[in-house]
């Protein structure tokens, strides 16, 4: 395997774009990435694309629609869907194609357009499918699962409502400093705690809004990278994981799980992160900042522990001591996170990569992490799949 660098990044703004197709949004992200890499579309030798699951057959097969718009060049296009982990798995596919020596320049692109309100079941109703049953027979929503896991955490570690609010406040402080964030308001704990209770103990401002968005990255063999970008960012390691037997998490999309733990919580993310650490030859102590999946305040509390930054139940104290902001022990979600962008499920992983690359290039503006050398991105993932990247200068 050879070294791989990121030479171009691009994004379409996050928001609600009723008059735009996922192709319209993809092209904006791709063109920004091409410009960033001082590259022509014809230089791209292969493409991995994220599937837009609500988009009928065109959404399930985005590659040809995107190449049609960009101009058909006959390149291989692979389409990938892995829930919240989609865009990072697209990135991993592109990485593997370059690392293996198959192609020198590969584009990773993912776009998503979200339906309004709560997600519900997709596809043909099938009573053998637990994800259908949890809707049909219980009405258990995604934030409902997170709230169930969160209440257990509150019992185990004494997490308070104020900690949940602090997670949102911490993200909003970063979001306010990011010109590309959708929500730039800095929230107070009181404002968060006054928002509507949705899935007790999670309030409206403590769960992700669903939005549209698209992001792209261009990967290149490291030995050729300087030709396209004076500051190529090295892909130190990528990881992808599925769940471990005995993980007691109330797992999104299932209606059954073990009671006694013989594996870590969100073990799919644990597995993905360990794979990335091993590939990169680094540990949590080497990571300068992280973009993690703040789908809810519970995620914000859980993920630093899953990634090994500190022990179980310690994120609350880190929030109390403001250790997750600039100058703290570990800046979390310098982009502002899902809290400041909303979630375009299939595209979110590449938005995280966009932020980490920006920081490593020193383009973080007012939210720049000082001396940023190694950054990490981590996704969540329905039913037990997840993906991680570790990027460095």
């Amino acid at each position: 395997m050879r070294d791989v660098a990121i030479v171009g990044i691009g994004m379409h703004p996050w928001g609600k774009f009723l008059d735009k197709t996922f192709v319209d949004m993809s092209v904006v992200a791709i063109e920004e990435a091409l410009k960033d890499a001082k590259m022509e579309w014809k230089d791209v030798q292969e493409m991995a694309a994220g599937i837009w699951v609500w988009g009928s057959v065109s959404g399930l097969n985005p590659g040809p629609s995107i190449t049609a718009r960009m101009g058909e060049t006959g390149i291989p296009t692979t389409n990938i869907f892995n829930m919240c982990a989609t865009a990072t798995n697209v990135f991993r596919a592109a990485y593997n194609i370059v690392a293996s020596g198959t192609k020198d320049i590969v584009l990773a692109i993912a776009a998503d357009k979200s339906p309004k309100g709560f997600f519900t079941t997709v596809g043909v109703p099938d009573p053998k499918d637990p994800d259908y049953l949890r809707w049909r027979m219980i009405g258990l929503t995604n934030p409902g699962y997170w709230a169930i896991q969160l209440r257990k955490r509150m019992e185990d570690y004494g997490t308070t409502e104020r900690h949940l609010a602090k997670a949102k406040v911490a993200c909003s402080r970063f979001g306010a400093l990011n010109p590309r964030a959708l929500y730039k308001k800095v929230y107070t704990e009181e404002e968060v705690l006054n928002s509507q209770m949705v899935c007790d103990p999670l309030r409206l401002l403590e769960i992700c809004a669903t939005r549209d968005g698209a992001a792209a990255a261009i990967l290149c063999s490291a030995d050729k990278a300087k030709k396209y970008n004076a500051r190529p960012i090295i892909v130190a390691g990528v990881g992808e994981g599925s769940s471990l037997y005995g993980d007691p998490t109330a797992r999104l999309g299932l209606v059954c799980g073990p009671v006694e733990a013989s594996a870590p919580l969100v073990s799919e993310s644990y597995a993905a992160a360990r794979m990335a650490y091993e590939a990169a030859g680094v540990g949590p102590e080497d990571i300068d900042f992280v973009e993690l999946p703040d789908n809810s305040s519970w995620h914000y509390l859980q993920y630093p522990e899953t990634l090994g930054f500190w022990g179980p139940g310690e994120t609350e104290r880190m929030l109390d001591e403001e250790q997750t902001g600039l100058g703290g022990k570990l800046p979390i979600n310098t982009s502002g996170g899902i809290a400041s962008f909303g979630e375009a499920v299939g595209a979110q992983g590449l938005l995280q990569i966009y932020e980490v690359v920006s920081q490593l290039r020193g383009q973080g503006g007012q939210r720049q992490v000082e001396n940023a050398k190694v950054g990490m991105t981590q996704t969540y993932g329905q039913l037990g799949n997840s993906a991680t990247t570790i990027l460095k200068i």
């Binding site: 309100g117 709560f118 519900t120 079941t121 109703p125 009573p127 053998k128 499918d129 637990p130 259908y132 049953l133 949890r134 809707w135 049909r136 027979m137 219980i138 009405g139 258990l140 929503t141 409902g144 709230a147 169930i148 896991q149 209440r151 257990k152 019992e155 509507q196 209770m197 949705v198 899935c199 007790d200 103990p201 999670l202 037997y245 007691p248 109330a250 299932l254 209606v255 059954c256 799980g257 073990p258 009671v259 006694e260």
Partner: protein, 142 residues
């Protein structure tokens, strides 16, 4: 066609009609992994025979492992009470070593307590468009 007054939201998930309804799950006889529903079979990674499964009627009684209260109606295909009231949902630990979610019934919201004893009942979760009751499993406080 006979007019339906009430019917299970899906067939084959619990014994019905019954005064003592039970969820129909499954178990691997070799690696002893329990699961629900019976269609979503699970095994240990080192299981020596992934065909050695059997249907199992799961315990009716369990303990509340954790819960949430949803303050907004769930989207279709869920059914909701009309008028909508806050919807408590529990994750209930059974003696088989697995936990199964379901709506909580038989008590006020303020009486829901972690680790409380619950038992399985089959009740209406709401009505369909024709006004028939759609039956779902719930956990009732004992």
């Amino acid at each position: 066609m006979t007019e339906k007054k009430e019917y299970p939201g899906e067939e084959g998930l619990f014994t019905w009609p019954s005064d003592q309804p039970q969820l129909i799950g499954g178990r691997c006889k070799v690696c002893n992994t329990y699961y629900f529903p019976k269609s979503f079979v699970r095994h240990k990674p080192d299981c020596k025979d992934r065909s050695a499964t059997e249907d199992v009627l799961l315990s009716r009684k369990g303990k509340l492992y954790s819960y949430t209260v949803q303050y907004v109606p769930s989207p279709p295909p869920a059914v909701n009470p009309d008028p909508f009231v806050a919807n408590p949902i529990g994750w209930v630990a059974l003696p088989e070593g697995i936990a199964i979610p379901g709506r909580i019934t038989g008590c006020k919201l303020e009486d829901i307590k972690m680790h409380m004893d619950v038992e399985l009942v089959v009740e209406s979760g709401g009505k369909d468009r024709e006004g028939n009751d759609v039956l779902i499993w719930k956990w009732r406080k004992i």
